[in-house]
Symmetry: C2
Subunit: 205 residues, 2 copies
DNA sequence: CGTAGTCTTGAGTATCCTCAACGAGGGTGG
DNA sequence: CCACCCTCGTTGAGGATACTCAAGACTACG
């Protein structure tokens, strides 16, 4: 598989593909971060997923993409695979075919987890769940410090909230001593139990 | 594929599988309707998907299911396929393997559409989008009558709203002459343009 | 060091949720 | 066949939450 891969460095904000582009390649994040987004008729943007290292994306049954993917960080590196040749490879090699199926199932599971987060009612619940998700996925484990390279606006579009509400929810969690903001784009989980509790019942105070 | 299928009739509310059950079969709705749901720690329920005829489900990369599936309608019929043997079949027959991949990609796309609906901000937008989605998926085209066999509570858990708000949104759409309620569980789309406008459409897919 | 963009905080308003009561079907048993 | 009950659906009033608008603080970058 990797023999067919092409790696591309991307600058901050670069579009890896756009909505309606032909879906003739599959992709994987090598390092950095990207966002999968859709723009609605009225101009509002919705972020469907943040893509982290080793996440695959660009899979579709049809011939075109239905959303865009853009690099979030400077120096994000993308590996891409020619779709037709990968499909031929999957047809020829059951092991590859099985791996692709698993990747597709995982993508589906990730979307389901997203729905569970969006289904949470309060803003604090959403933001807490988001932080726990990012902590688990980035799996730095470096003292529970979680990098949030995306903007607050990105987070808001991801959680279907306003930027102000995201800010306020972070402030509330900080006030509860569940997290601390080491910098604007780096959160440290101080009290994981408190954060998990906030992600479940989120009730104020 | 179909040679290995077992078909099972289900009564209303019957569990096809539960959360944490071993994931050793794949499924397809033959007729009727089912709901995929997750229960959170505090007892609240979230409906991740409504499953309509010819929808496949039960795919997962892991060994257990992470949510439950229950029949919504009386006399829902489910076809199920032994996972191991299907995987062997997919390994042996590239055509089958390709089909399974496509089904997985489609499941992922459906989840993405769900996220776009949940990301909509107002209740009327959510309900309008939901009705349009159901109309498209059931594809009756019988005078634009859409069957809603699930309860209002189910719809509420699907859209992350309260039952009362779902009722009010339906009443509002009725008042705008976008829909009419032929019965409690059947909606007729009177003015599709008005409904699409209410959903602030433009979402891709 | 200055500027532009991002982030935070505040005040007021709109929306949705909670609580509550009432009405409509669908079964069941008398 | 009717009365009854139980669930589900609708409607209303009040309160909580998040959004909008606005201004100030901070950061990144030239």
């Amino acid at each position: 598989m990797e023999a067919l891969a092409a790696t591309t460095p991307c600058y901050r904000g670069q579009e890896i593909y756009r909505s309606e582009d032909p879906a003739d390649r599959w992709y994987r994040i090598v390092c950095g971060m990207a966002r999968k987004c859709a723009v609605m008729a009225d101009g509002r943007r919705q972020i469907l997923d943040f893509l982290l290292p080793d996440d695959y994306f660009g899979f579709t049954a049809g011939e075109v993409h239905h959303c865009a993917v853009e690099a979030v960080q400077e120096s994000t590196v993308i590996a891409s695979y020619p779709r037709r040749r990968m499909e031929m490879l999957a047809d020829a090699d059951p092991q590859v075919g099985r791996r692709i199926r698993e990747l597709a199932f995982e993508a589906s599971s990730r979307m389901q987890r997203r729905i569970l987060i969006l289904g949470r009612t309060s803003a604090v619940e959403k933001v807490s769940s988001f932080l726990l998700e990012m902590a688990e996925r980035s799996s730095d484990e470096s003292g529970e410090a979680v990098g949030l390279p995306m903007s607050r606006y990105d987070i808001a579009d991801y959680l279907a909230l306003s930027t102000e509400t995201v800010s306020r929810a972070l402030a509330a969690l900080k006030h509860r001593a569940a997290i601390s903001l080491t910098s604007v784009h780096s959160v440290r989980i101080v009290d994981r139990d408190a954060l998990e509790e906030a992600s479940e019942d989120g009730g104020p105070f």
